[in-house]
């Protein structure tokens, strides 16, 4: 199992991970939505040859051969998109041993090449994704037009076809109710923040993803620079907000209560886990509780429902899974 999401990367107190994704299609084949199954398989095998000949650390997986709960777990660990986890005829995945580079074949486009890094490291993620993009481009011709760039099935990805995203942990800004304001501010700058803005609980654990929305008329470098500078401002806002919150005794109390529940509970749903782990992650990053943030980073994907099942090679029902989750969390936090 990979480790990029466990590590404490640059700006790791606030940033969980960075991702660069390229949407690409091969010139001579219609886009996936107009491509028949045989042609998809033929194209997949050509892409497979192009990638594997240059990258020994990567393996090719036919999605048809992967059981459903395992595909969901791949999505929980961000290795594939949720759409890709659906019915899987002729879809394939090329995955690096470290799980930091993944290529979805026959998702919305022929190729979705993505590279992940711990913390805020857009440059490194870009280099990794670009290497694979070039490896394939040397063998197969990408669909490209000088005027509108890389051609994609959906015109929202035209141009660079690049989506750069940063996963942020923003418990303090969330607590202060500043996320929706932040969302409207960044949207004016061509970026988008995704997360649960609605009423009710926050199963997302105060984790948000910010990415560039526009891909045409802006170069890869500009888009990355733009995103990085905004992310840095959000980081400093979050840090200030944390300072303020942590001087509040009742907030501190809620942190230690969360820690107490995680340490001793006998049953934990994934929603409750996410809510509590968010507080504990904040406390760990701010060195209020002595526990490595890496451990917590790893727990966030590891405790998702399908991933719990995969790790234990079982198909537990929800209640059994909640018990198992609580047991594993207790062990990690050292009851």
């Amino acid at each position: 199992m990979g480790k990029w999401y466990r590590d404490f990367g640059p700006e790791g107190d606030v940033v969980l991970s960075t991702r660069i994704r390229f949407a690409r299609n091969i010139r001579e084949y219609p886009f996936p939505f107009r491509l028949d199954e045989d042609k998809k398989k033929e194209l997949n095998s050509r892409i497979k040859d192009a990638v594997l000949s240059d990258n020994e650390n990567m393996s090719f997986i036919e999605m048809e051969s992967v059981p459903a709960f395992q595909t969901v777990s791949l999505a929980e660990r961000h290795l594939i998109s949720p759409e890709f986890a659906g019915p899987s005829k002729s879809k394939a995945l090329i995955l690096s041993d470290e799980e930091d580079v993944s290529i979805m074949l026959q998702e919305e486009d022929h190729l979705r090449i993505q590279a992940m890094e711990a913390g805020l490291d857009l440059e490194k993620a870009y280099e990794k994704a670009e290497k694979v993009e070039k490896d394939i481009g040397r063998v197969l011709n990408y669909a490209f037009d000088e005027r509108i760039g890389f051609l994609t099935q959906c015109p929202t990805n035209l141009g660079t076809g690049m989506r750069a995203s940063v996963m942020l942990h923003l418990p303090a800004l969330t607590k202060q109710g500043l996320i929706s304001r932040l969302a409207s501010t960044v949207s004016k700058l061509g970026l988008v923040i995704r997360g649960a803005y609605g009423e009710g609980s926050q199963p997302g654990g105060d984790i948000y993803q910010i990415s560039n929305q526009i891909t045409l008329g802006i170069s890869e470098k500009e888009a990355i620079f733009n995103l990085e500078s905004i992310v840095k401002q959000i980081i400093s806002q979050e840090r200030n907000a944390r300072k303020e919150l942590l001087s509040d005794e009742s907030y501190l109390d809620s942190i230690f209560r969360a820690y107490g529940i995680l340490k001793y509970a006998r049953k934990l749903t994934s929603n409750e886990f996410m809510k509590l782990i968010s507080l504990v992650r904040l406390a760990s990053a701010e060195k209020i509780i002595d526990i490595d943030t890496e451990k917590i980073n790893a727990m966030i994907p590891d405790m998702q429902p399908a991933t719990v099942n995969v790790r234990n090679s079982s198909m537990l029902d929800a209640e059994e899974r909640d018990k198992l989750r609580a047991k594993e969390v207790r062990e990690i936090l050292g009851e």
């Binding site: 939505f33 481009g137 490209f144 760039g149 015109p155 004016k188 008329g217 890869e220 500009e222």
Partner: protein, 170 residues
């Protein structure tokens, strides 16, 4: 308020965004938000506006009844089908329906000229378009010579026009 996507359930997720300077607000129920990748931030990857802006292509202005429907020769898509699905069929569709697609592309991105990496170019990446064009012309001239030698004058004439066209562009 009802969900904008299914128009059945109460909207509980509100998403604000600005596309091309236009402020839009989305109101979705939790089911649709989930389907579109909004509720669980872990499922955010790969999200695409096209999923629910299926109608973001402008409809063709004049649709003469009885007139032949133009289709992409490669994949068979018509512009009406592109509008309906929000999806483009293949690379050739962009060429075929370029003028018709342009207003929508302008609306989505605010721009219509690519300003990033160029595909299928050998290293280094900084090679300018001019240079590749020169190379293309040299190749075409080579091909033309061969065509003349083979007495394939039709092809040679075609190539000559192509070269002229490219030279005048430069």
């Amino acid at each position: 308020m009802l969900c904008q996507n299914c128009k059945k359930h109460e909207a509980t997720t509100h998403i604000k965004s600005v596309v091309n300077g236009e402020y839009t607000q989305l109101h979705l129920c939790s089911d649709c938000a989930g389907k579109l990748g909004y509720t669980d931030v872990f499922s955010g990857f790969g999200f695409d506006l096209g999923d629910f802006f299926g109608n973001f292509f402008s409809k063709p202005k004049t649709m003469l009844s009885g007139s032949k429907v133009e289709r992409c020769e490669k994949c068979g898509m018509s512009f009406e089908e592109i509008v309906k699905t929000g999806k483009i069929g293949c690379a050739d569709c962009y060429e075929k329906f370029y003028e018709m697609l342009l207003p929508s592309i302008q609306r989505i991105h605010g721009k219509t000229q690519h300003n990033g990496k160029v595909a299928n170019v050998t290293e280094p990446d900084e090679v300018k378009k001019e240079k590749t064009k020169e190379e293309i012309i040299a190749e075409l001239q080579e091909e033309m010579k061969v065509a003349i030698e083979e007495q394939n004058f039709e092809k040679a004439a075609e190539l000559r026009d192509k070269i002229k066209g490219m030279e005048s562009e430069m």
